[in-house]
């Protein structure tokens, strides 16, 4: 079963994406989507050594909402910074110590940090224990680190690292 259907979640996600892609919501396309959703992971199974474990679907949804909200809000802030006086910016590199241990979670965290306004994940330390973040306009580095850990790292840990 595991070999025949390596990633059931992925299959469902892909089927859903297929329906989005074709913009047509018919039974035929659902079947086709499921077929592709099965076929693609099956054909590329060898590239997926570890299967992804996702817990806490509500947390995940809440997390997505938070991120989208942060993006929209933050974008306006960044826009203001850009349209303002560039010379008054206070850029800084900030090191965020990491509690996350899986590559996927770390990557998603880094991604989130980059997507949200004013910060870009620049570098992951060699031991994967800290992330260096570049901030466009830094008030207090410690607050920023705490915010990141609270808003993003904690939920990610709950979603991906509790199995």
């Amino acid at each position: 079963m595991k070999r025949l259907l390596p990633h059931p979640v992925l299959t469902l996600v892909l089927a859903a994406l297929w329906l989005l892609l074709v913009n047509t919501f018919t039974a035929g396309h659902l079947m086709l989507g499921l077929l592709l959703g099965w076929l693609i992971p099956f054909a590329t199974a060898s590239l997926w050594p570890q299967s992804v474990c996702i817990r806490n679907l509500p947390t995940l949804l809440r997390y997505v909402a938070v991120v989208v909200y942060d993006i929209v809000l933050g974008s306006f802030r960044v826009a203001r910074l850009i349209l303002g006086r560039p010379a008054s910016l206070r850029p800084a590199f900030v090191t965020v110590p990491l509690e996350l241990r899986t590559d996927l979670a770390i990557s998603l965290l880094a991604n989130t940090i980059s997507l949200t306004p004013g910060t870009v994940s620049v570098l992951l330390s060699e031991d994967h224990r800290s992330l260096i973040v570049h901030s466009l306009d830094t008030g207090d580095a410690t607050t920023m680190v705490a915010e990141i850990k609270h808003r993003y790292e904690a939920p990610l840990k709950a979603i991906f690292e509790s199995c």
Partner: protein, 115 residues
């Protein structure tokens, strides 16, 4: 009403696209310039895509495939930014903010020559 919503979305989208690129032009070092495109622009394109989705869903049939482009951009933009920053650190590109030694090209840094 729909017209207003669409116009708003289009204008916001185009506006953010503009601002993001303006940041790319105006800001003073590479690391700050990196911020413009990765965020403002993604939001800009995101808005435009939503506008497109709304437009086609109302003018033709339900159109949600724009979500896919958004998903794609949201998944890739941070990776691009990350790699760009990594490359800039590796090359020792001038930074306004002091570069922490662990990130710099020096003997402790990630760009240090391999033994």
């Amino acid at each position: 009403m729909l017209d207003i919503l669409l116009s708003l979305l289009v204008l916001t989208g185009a506006g953010f696209t503009f601002v993001g690129s303006l940041g790319l032009l105006r800001l003073r070092d590479f690391y700050t310039r990196l911020h413009g495109p990765t965020k403002a622009t993604t939001l800009g394109v995101g808005c435009l895509l939503v506008a497109s989705s709304v437009y086609f869903s109302t003018h033709h049939t339900l159109s949600l495939h724009e979500i896919l482009v958004t998903l794609f951009l949201f998944m890739t933009a941070p990776v691009s930014a990350h790699l760009l920053a990594k490359a800039a650190l590796h090359l020792g590109v001038k930074s306004l903010a002091p570069v922490p030694p662990a990130a710099g090209p020096g003997p402790d840094g990630i760009g240090k020559p391999k033994p």
